[in-house]
């Protein structure tokens, strides 16, 4: 199962695996814990990882997801394995490493966190820290302080593909997880499934009229736990008024300044 992906960094492949798992699984698996075991050994890397893997699989009595990069770093993703068990497994792996490549390795344990799929930055930090580890027979524990609302999600509903792509790119660079819908029904559907932190929607949509979408969103989420930003060409006072009556948090008209849009969204999320 281990793939050799030279170009990508360790955190990227790990993140991909976790997200893949998240998307594939049904609702119940969403909050499952995920222990991560990172191992680096420059000497006889392949044999060592194979040994460790066999060891882990024997312990857990099932197959284990593993990713490797640059022929020296490996990460074992232990889905469904709680923190204490991960710690125990790490001790066993350390024993194994001491036997196979004494003194020539670094080992770290971490976990993917509750909303791992929303948080690529945690993986980045994890990989950075791991890369700096000296080779020593000590298990380093990585614990990311997931700030509440660390990575937030934005749902974009806009019929104009260019606009959607542009905003998607900008929001992504800002660190948001971006969901995009090209029409009203799709937007409503994504809203129900993903419960995004912010919805940025146009009033001029296909499939459903913008005000109706707002009414439905309001009905779904009467406490306004998701902030709704209307982002539209419609500059008529009455429409603006109607939108605020429907519980909208902000109203931004086009032509627009992307910086302003981003700032206003950031403010809403504070």
């Amino acid at each position: 199962m281990s793939k050799r992906l030279e170009a990508k960094r360790l955190n990227e492949v790990m993140y991909e695996k976790v997200v893949e798992r998240f998307w594939r699984s049904d609702e119940s698996a969403r909050g499952e814990p995920c222990g991560i075991l990172l191992v680096r050994c420059p000497q006889s890397f392949e044999e060592t990882t194979r040994e460790i893997r066999t060891r882990l699989e024997a312990e857990l009595e099932r197959s284990v997801e593993a990713v490797t990069v640059a022929n020296r770093e490996a990460a074992f993703l232990l889905f469904g394995v709680a923190w204490s068990r991960t710690h125990y497994l790490a001790l066993r792996v350390k024993q194994e490493l001491m036997r196979l490549v004494p003194g020539e390795f670094a080992i770290m344990i971490a976990d993917a966190g509750e909303h791992a799929e929303r948080n690529p930055r945690a993986f980045e930090k994890m990989a950075d820290l791991f890369a700096q580890l000296p080779e020593a027979p000590e298990i380093v524990i990585f614990q990311e302080h997931v700030q509440p609302g660390g990575t937030q999600s934005v749902l974009l509903v806009d019929g104009d593909e260019e606009m959607r792509r542009y905003l998607e790119l900008r929001f992504r660079l800002k660190g948001y997880r971006v969901l995009a819908a090209e029409n009203g029904p799709q937007g409503l559907d994504l809203f129900r499934k993903m419960k995004p932190d912010v919805v940025v929607t146009d009033l001029n949509l296909t499939g459903m009229d913008g005000f109706h979408l707002l009414t439905r969103l309001h009905r779904e989420d009467p406490n306004a736990s998701s902030k709704i930003v209307v982002f539209t060409d419609n500059r008529v006072e009455e429409s603006i008024n109607k939108c605020f009556e429907l519980g909208v948090a902000d109203y931004i008209t086009r032509p627009f300044s992307p910086v302003e849009l981003e700032e206003r969204i950031e403010k809403l999320l504070q």
Binding site: L205, T206, G207, D209, T215, D233, V236, E237, S239, P255
Partner: protein, 483 residues
């Protein structure tokens, strides 16, 4: 006899020359109009305009009679137009099917008790107005059957906005259609009283979520002919006529009006087909008699897609009805003919319509008889005859191709090379039968008119029934009534 025939021959020649001249002049004006339209469109940002307060709010009036199969899709599509403030008023004209109930179910409508209706125009009293706050832009009016014109009048009475737009329940508007029309209105809001839209044939096109997604030519022959006919009439004809402010009709399928002007002329006339032409004639008359500056404009880039009748039976009945309506309108307004008081409309549009539209069948018919006479009396040479036929054909063909070129210059809806070739070929094919059928249908319409002269009351309901509408299912359902 010989003298008579000779005399007829020269008259006919002048007739043909005159009509050709007018056609080409109008086509020329169409080119001029399209040229300025293209230039104007480059600088118009419709997207931004659609949200601007300067675009006036519009009430869309959708008369519906037995439309239960398609009404939901159409209303959904109408509710998502790109326009800042507008309302959709569906008028259920006492349908015999479940049109009202399907609307109530689909949009969870409830009776709106606090709605007061000002009866500024006479119409059958409204039974109930339905509304749902979750669809703030939709109103459904229920009233006893009274005909299409009556439904439109009822819609006007309920409407809340200064502009009204009539739309057939079986037609789809493009998302930008309203804002494009409003742009034309905003160019001259003081004078514009009516704006016509461009009606295109949707047969053969792929429709997804109430939007025409893929434009293709119809596969069947009758819609194909009509596609070309509409293109010629709308692009080659109406743009030109609007350029000299002589437009005589704004299609009932899609047009926009200033509400106050429509109320001033007493709304739509009931009891006879051709209410769309009638309202425009009345507007011309009213404005000219009161010496008010006005404009009846045409907006070729505001597109409405409609289903064309695809069987001979329905098509012929539609055309007979048009013939009947045209004759009725011409007879009613014959006093405007050639009166300088009515300016371009009385001096050019009316005579043109009477001579080249209404009386066209009689010229064609006498022409045919004269031809038989010439041959019988041996007054003709085949070569001369052929030359005339060829000139006539070429004239018509150049006209048709002229409209096609206009289409390709300005709109380019049909992008496939195959379609272009097909359209050109069919433009030529229309001379072999289709035009002649058109003449026949018009004549039959006139005969119907004379026969049913005193029975308009009964006709009302029937004519509304005959509306060539909807998908295939409807067409089938209707064909029974038409017979």
């Amino acid at each position: 006899m010989r003298e008579l025939l000779l005399g007829y021959g020269s008259v006919a020649m002048y007739y043909v020359m005159a009509v050709t001249l007018i056609y080409f002049t109008i086509l020329f004006f169409s080119y001029k109009g399209v040229y300025s339209m293209i230039k104007g469109a480059v600088y118009s940002r419709f997207q931004s305009l659609s949200g601007s307060e300067s675009a006036p709010p519009v009430s869309l009036l959708v008369p519906a009679y037995n439309e239960e199969l398609t009404i939901i899709e159409n209303v959904k599509s109408l509710l998502t137009l790109n326009y800042h403030t507008y309302e959709v008023i569906v008028v259920n004209d006492g349908s015999k099917d479940n049109t009202l109930q399907v609307l109530i179910d689909a949009f969870r409508l409830v009776p709106k008790e606090d709605e007061t209706i000002r009866y500024s125009i006479d119409c059958t009293p409204i039974r109930q107005v339905y509304h749902n706050p979750a669809y703030p832009n939709l109103y459904v009016v229920d009233k006893p059957n009274g005909g299409k014109a009556d439904s439109l009048n009822a819609g006007i009475n309920l409407s809340h906005y200064p502009l009204i737009s009539s739309i057939d329940a079986d037609s789809l508007l493009e998302k930008d259609a309203l804002i494009r029309m409003a742009r034309v209105y905003m160019e001259n809001p003081a004078e514009t009283v009516a704006i016509g839209g461009n009606v295109r044939i949707a047969n053969g096109c792929t429709i997804r979520d109430g939007v025409v997604a893929d434009v293709k030519l119809p596969k069947k022959i009758w819609p194909m002919f009509q596609t070309l006919e509409y293109m010629k009439a709308f692009l080659g004809g109406r743009i030109g006529w609007s350029h000299i402010n002589g437009l005589i009709i704004v299609s009932g399928a899609f047009g926009m009006f200033r509400k106050s002007a429509v109320i001033d002329v007493g709304g739509y006339r009931d009891g006879y087909p051709g209410e769309d032409m009638n309202i425009i004639i009345k507007l011309h008359r009213h404005m000219l008699e009161n010496k008010l500056p006005y404009r009846v404009a045409y907006c070729p880039d505001a597109v409405c897609w409609t289903q064309a009748p695809d069987t001979y039976r329905i098509l012929s009945s539609q055309r007979k009805r048009w013939g009947r309506g045209n004759l009725k309108n011409m007879l009613e307004n014959r006093d405007m003919l050639l009166r300088p008081k009515y300016k371009v409309f009385g001096l050019l549009t009316m005579p043109y319509n009477v001579i080249f539209e209404t009386l066209n069948p009689y010229f064609k018919l006498t022409g045919l008889l004269a031809l038989i006479g010439y041959v019988a009396m041996d007054m003709t040479q085949w070569r001369v005859l052929l030359t005339f036929a060829l000139i006539n054909f070429l004239n018509g063909f150049v006209m048709a191709v002229g409209s096609l070129v206009l289409e390709e210059l300005a709109f380019r809806r049909y992008t496939r090379m195959r379609d272009l070739v097909k359209m050109t070929a069919f433009s030529a094919l229309m001379f072999l039968g289709y035009y002649q059928l058109g003449v026949l249908w018009r004549l039959q319409g006139h005969i119907e008119f004379l026969r049913k002269n005193n029975s308009w009351g009964v006709m009302t309901r029937q004519s509304w029934n005959q509306e060539p509408s909807g998908g295939d299912a409807q067409a089938v359902a209707q064909s029974g009534k038409i017979a």
